[in-house]
Amino acid sequence: MVEMAPLQALEREYPLIDSNFRGFCASRHIFTVEDFLVHDLHALEAFAEQHYAPDKLKQGISQIFSIIDSQHRPWLHGLELLEDAEQNKCILSAGWESIDVLLQGGLREGHVTELVGPSSSGKTQVCLQAAAHVARNYSGTVMYFDSGNSFSPKRIAEFLSQSSDPANTQVNKTVQRVMRSIVCHSIFDIFTLLDLLHQLINNFKSQMGSRIRLLVIDSLSSLIAPVLGGGGTHGHALMVTAGFLLKELAHEHNLCILVTNHVVGGEGGVSKPALGESWKSTPHVRLLMSRYGATNGSSCVSILKHPYLATGKTMEIKII
């Protein structure tokens, strides 16, 4: 969250925020820029009128206005949005034909896509294949946040050799190149996750490191579920904060984000996603995965939510 910057720290950049102005603000119980946000600045201006040197104070207040103006995201009109979407938000193939067909091309940069489903419905397999496929076919790196020790380089190598001619001597080279561009972090609690997400945003801002195309979090729900419950508000606040960090990363830095959410037993034996109502407003795209029939390795994937595609369409997915 935004740190509370004391007004004093602003004086070097904005000389109008001098000790006189700060004294005036302190008399109105304003100490930080954030305090200004909940204050009625027009009432403050009226109050400044009664001061012995109102002009200087009013200049200070309009300075504060322009600082506040720089703290929100820019307004864009529809065409500018469309241009951003067309130029910066590519569609990445997920490496699964059925998912690509379902989503009309694949995973979209700028979107947070969620896979929800019971255990062994193939969520992790989809994540691993997507990581392998994106690392192989697109420039840039793949970040893989693993919370359950389920990241398997061996499986990724298998996926890579499946999609190319086994007789080809290039396979080994490809595997090595792909492995180098997948960065895996083991994460076991939400605080480490929040730290890493903040770090990623800062890296993007200072343009450090290589371009990240895809961020996979498998499984996100197992990081968040432990802090929920007990009726406290703090767990929900952590969850929503993580959600907004993901959406900021995805949209502002054109990242494709893929997360998984497991299901738990709910009331009356009906299973429900571990991250429920308050989480629902986070992902752009929600895909439901379920095991299909008795045959091994067959699953179903269907759209639960999408910004512009119809929901309910179902495709079969074969995991070999």
């Binding site: 969250m1 935004v2 509370m4 119980h29 100490f31 954030e34 305090d35 946000l37 909940v38 204050h39 009625d40 600045l41 027009h42 206005f65 506040i68 103006d69 703290q71 929100h72 995201r73 820019p74 307004w75 864009l76 009109h77 529809g78 065409l79 949005l81 469309l82 951003d84 979407a85 979107h111 009726g231 508000t233 703090h234 929900h236 606040a237 969850m239 929503v240 904060t241 907004f244 959406k247 900021e248 949209h251 429920g276 109502e277 308050s278 629902k280 407003s281 752009h284 939510k305 910004p307 512009y308 119809a310 929901t311 309910g312």
Partner: protein
């Protein structure tokens, strides 16, 4: 002397005033499911519903009706030709959903003529560009950004006014309450002084309302706000009981019968009393699937109106069914 007399003279009769208000602030009928009540600038409409219940889509459809012209090159579009400001707090808005729906509407209005000419996927690009330019968008990732956006909203409105003849008609917020949990966890009282105004769920909501009210005085607009609601969530119900200190609204809603028992109000009172119209969306029970599309029903909570509509969401957007 005459100037003193003129001061107490009649400015206008009630009839004149009514005519002036009706021309200055005419009623508009928004696309379904908001079509039942005429709305006008100054109204604050809250669209409450669980996720998913087509809240954002309803906002987008209303925005399209606002940015489309009444008539363009001899074709009737029935729009208002005014601008829209869209503040995205959910940060899930996808511009493609707007552009697709807008193209569809333009195409639909041209329907008869273009199908005769056989130009199926043709739409008026010039009109499309004009309309998209009337749609302004920003997003906020936390309450600080939201407050900063609102505090400087008058700059933006002034800019719109200077730039083009069409002034802003609608302010949309999708969705209010997005930062509810984050704001509730804001650290209380960071310093010793008691009179310092802390950032909290309460003060954020109060400031949001105050800033919008101030903007509305100078730039009259119709405010449409989506709000997500959860139904039958045990945990959230206990939440209401624990925090219902100053919420008289809860009891009122609960007494409306068992159907409403699970609809809970969580926004602070400052926002609740700011809302002038409230419509509740809910997923219809059972297997009442209509041509494989999930159906939703509407209920006006404020003002309380008897009729209820059922609608489905398909490729054409929101369609009312009977």
């Amino acid at each position: 002397m005459t100037s003193a007399f003129s001061w107490i003279e009649v400015d206008e009769t009630a009839k004149e005033a009514l005519v002036r208000i009706l021309t200055e602030r005419p009623f508009v009928v928004l696309p379904p499911p908001l079509h039942r009540l005429p709305l006008r600038v100054g109204n604050v409409v809250e669209i409450v519903g669980p996720s998913p219940s087509a809240k954002t889509l309803i906002l987008i459809q209303a925005a399209i009706s606002c940015i489309l012209p009444k008539e363009w090159k001899g074709v009737q579009y029935g729009g208002l030709e005014r601008s829209v400001l869209f503040i995205d707090l959910d940060c899930r808005f996808d511009v493609l959903s707007l552009s697709k729906a807008l193209k569809r509407r333009i195409h639909g209005a041209n329907g008869v003529r273009s199908s005769m000419k056989g130009t199926e996927n043709e739409y008026d690009k010039e009109l499309f560009v004009e309309c998209m330019k009337r749609f302004s968008y920003t997003r906020c990732y936390n309450s600080f950004e939201f407050l900063a956006t609102l505090k400087t909203l008058h700059y933006r409105l002034q800019k719109e006014k200077d730039k083009q003849s069409s002034t802003v008609y609608m302010l949309m917020i999708d969705s209010i309450g997005a930062f509810y949990w984050m704001d509730r966890a804001l650290p209380s009282s960071s310093s010793g002084s008691n009179s310092r105004k802390n950032l909290s769920l309460q003060t954020v909501a109060e400031t949001v309302v105050k800033e919008i009210q101030r903007v509305l005085l100078v730039h009259p607009m119709l405010v449409l706000a989506a709000k997500s609601a959860s139904f039958g969530d045990k945990q959230s119900k206990s939440e209401v009981i624990r925090n219902s200190g100053q919420r008289s609204d809860d009891k009122m809603l609960d007494s409306r019968g068992p159907r409403n028992l699970s609809h809970r109000e969580y926004m602070p009172l400052a926002w609740q009393s700011f809302v002038s119209h409230r419509i509740l969306l809910r997923a219809s029970d059972g297997e009442s699937k209509h041509q494989n599309h999930p159906t939703f029903s509407t209920e006006w909570l404020l003002p309380s109106v008897q009729f209820s509509d059922n609608f489905i969401v398909n490729d054409d957007g929101v369609v009312v069914i009977f």
